[in-house]
Assembly symmetry: C2
Homo-oligomer: 225 residues x 2
């Protein structure tokens, strides 16, 4: 297994090449291309974050999550392990991916389409803000784990390093617009800005949002204050 993020991400390479081409042609850089970071927009499919205690209840005592694919944010990974989520309408979602590393709370993030299919009435929440949200039952190969709360739709958001926040002229907690072009063009208002020194510039939208605008690798995207 390669070390986390040992290779340079495709978006970073494209960003550098774009900057070099404009320089070579002697043309002024478009605003979006002049930032220090490329704009990466990723669709988060339904997933969960678990505590080590929940992992052990589901997969057995002492079990550790195994990285399957490293994500764009440093140190974050999709685990090989997945669980089954049992909903109130006797329907299940199997293969609900676990994202690692383990956290201090248990949280399931669904799109509304998933939630409606399962029978969950879930609120829109900032990740981590799960007080008063519905719970659910998870099933793994070694047992069940009941969450008393934590099933949410995550608020669409953009991760930013402080340098990116300065470039876009925004502060942590503010909102921006995300403009998606193409045949199913959409403007997402109220994209929450989250700033941290450990973050790389990356927008997270869910599958309802990603499918509404048919986001593809070559779909034009723009962040607007």
């Amino acid at each position: 297994m390669a070390a986390p993020n040992a290779t340079v991400h495709r978006a970073v390479v494209e960003h550098l090449v774009r900057q070099a081409v404009y320089r070579r042609l002697g043309k002024p850089l478009p605003r979006m291309a002049s930032g220090s970071s490329p704009l990466v927009v990723n669709v988060s499919a339904r997933h969960c974050h678990l505590t080590q205690e929940a992992v052990e209840a589901l997969f057995g005592k002492g079990h550790k999550l195994t990285p399957f694919k490293w994500l764009y944010q440093e140190g974050q990974f999709a685990a090989q392990e997945s669980v089954t989520l049992i909903g109130p309408r006797s329907r299940v979602i199997s293969n609900l991916r676990i994202l690692g590393p383990c956290r201090t709370l248990n949280q399931v993030e669904l799109a509304y389409t998933d939630a409606i299919a399962l029978g969950f009435d879930i609120p829109l929440r900032l990740s981590g803000n799960i007080e008063g949200t519905p719970g659910g039952m998870l099933m793994g190969p070694a047992g069940f784990f009941e969450m008393s709360n934590g099933v949410i739709r995550a608020l669409r958001h953009v991760h930013m390093h402080p340098d990116d926040a300065e470039f876009y002229g925004v502060k942590n907690g503010e909102n921006m617009n995300l403009r998606i072009g193409g045949p199913c063009a959409v403007n997402f208002d109220k994209l929450l800005v989250r700033v941290d020194k450990s973050f790389k510039l990356e927008v997270h939208i869910d599958t309802d949002e990603g499918n509404a605008c048919n986001l593809q690798p070559n779909t034009p995207c723009e962040l607007v204050k």
Copy 2:
């Protein structure tokens, strides 16, 4: 069963009450409230339109669709009958609702979330424009019916009477913006205008679009040229 659209739609009543309240208060009507029609925005869940020939193959010789619920557009209904759609990944969608009355072509309209789950790679098309689109297999209680094409994502659109088109200053085939407010606010660009004397003012978006913006009965909506 009540005659089609024998009762006045809730949206029409609200529209008339809103106009009366503004008049009573002696206040000028907001632009949206001054049109002859209320703006109705409806989410179309996955469904199909069938020929009489397909209905008979699926439900038996001479079978006629039975209206289950009248839709907003005059004479259109959700039928009691539904079919099972079999996708290329050996997965199925059961209870795919048939909309009546029968048409001269067979067409299945899915959201991209549905299509991805089933394994269909479907194009974005104006309803009725199904040349070169993928087909699929339908299953009913009396047999199978194979569609050689017709599985699409329908282009988001607004039905308009010529009076509505005049009010909004648009023509058949043009695009408008649909602004949805609330906590998951979204602006849908490229909403296709379809004008016909038989149409009532109604926007159709699919479940990905409706869930992306969490469209609820009280969510503010606005049509902008």
